[in-house]
Amino acid sequence: MELNIYAYKCKRCGHIHYPYKTICKNCGENDHNEFDIVPLPKKGKLLTYTTLYNPPSDYEVPTLALGIVELEGGHRITGQLNIKNPKIGMNVEGKVEVVRKEAYNKHLGMVFYQA
């Protein structure tokens, strides 16, 4: 089964939110907080990035690369990068993988590779 990151599409105006909000940012719909859950696209362009040389203590890696990606359709997402020489504007493709491990918890999130 292919894993996805899901966004929240307003049932009234169609505006897509990621992350989730209780009230639609676009139309202010507040009757039922009704959203459809839709998978975010995985392909996009790298908007900006950084390499962190002192990642949080629960990461057992010397460096951690992070970026913001503009996905097809214009939505953006923050994610981890697994790319040798990242460049602003490059084409990337995401996979849903474990991005943080805590004692009893594994968090899934988007990791981007060069497309």
Partner: protein, 391 residues
Amino acid sequence: MREVYVAGIGITSFTRLEYPLVEIAAYPGLMALRDSGLKKIDQLYVANMGSGRVNGQTGLASAVVDHLSLTPAGAVTIENGPASGASAIKEGFMAVASGMHDVVMVIGAERMREVNQLEATDFVATLTHPLAEYIYGVTLPSLAGMFARLYMEKYGVTSRHLAMVAVKNHHNAMDNFYAHLHEEITLEGILDSPEASTNNPYVADPLRFYDMCPVSDGGACLILVSADVMKKLNKPMIRLAGIGQATDTHAVHERKDPTYLFAVREAAKKSFAMAGVKPEDVDVAELHDAFTILEIAESEEVGFFKKGEGHIALEKGETKIGGKIPINPSGGLKAKGHPVGATGVGQAHEIVLQLRGEAKKRQVKNAKIGFTCNFGGFGNNVVCLTFIKEK
């Protein structure tokens, strides 16, 4: 609304302090009482971000009011991330302006060095979006790194410009007894020399070690009073004339243009409008340079320079003491230090000193209008203050 004046100020060194958080909060309170000549207060606000998590202490304001033997005055703790300080000043202002109280003490205090640097960074990172940012390992330095990369690409800001902010603010801090870092640095040492990559390694590229503020302990205090109380004190009439606060999206990636600090722009605009002044009227400013890039970006967003031209003004020396608009004469967060919950009060403390003409060697001449920008989250909650010296 009634007018609100600053009757007294106090501060600790911003550094590693080896005494309890309650005392870090109480000493500047004591200094401010002495400075004002007041003995009693109606209300205390204590700004703090991390006592529950970092120091294992909650209900901080109740502890501080008792420590200062100011009971039965009201006491409230205010947590609003790194903007806690100016947020508490806003609450203090409203309490006096509304007529509810005549004398309000606002303290900001933080003791972060009780834990190591990684734990401190992780504690601050908890203010990022839990699901869209934090789970990826996003910290404040990483948001600043991504912001800086895009800013440099878009506006032609270079590592040299960032280093110039650090050099300037370290230089200013040399004349500030209370500053965390008393270390004169040069472009040669942190950028050009063969040792520079060792002296100044990458932390969140393109940002390096000297682009980051230190992790500090510290406290600061302002006593805010009504005009009637102020007139009896025979102190310089420094009026808190404008306050603006604005918010932005929690996750940085949701902003239309992630190089814009919309909340800074809005908060500054509101603060200036309330005070009835323009950005070009400001004589001295303390901006929230937790990262060097932020001083440049904020100097544009608050209206001192056009968008994309802050680094050019910096290059020309316009932001030095003696320049057109001196920024961070205290040394800023970069060199004065950043005890998160105390920072906004610390910035106001510096502006009051400057407007009183008590800033000694780092005094900006004839400063009459001062401004602070206290930046919470990564720009998602910002409070700007405008102070005016009256005759």
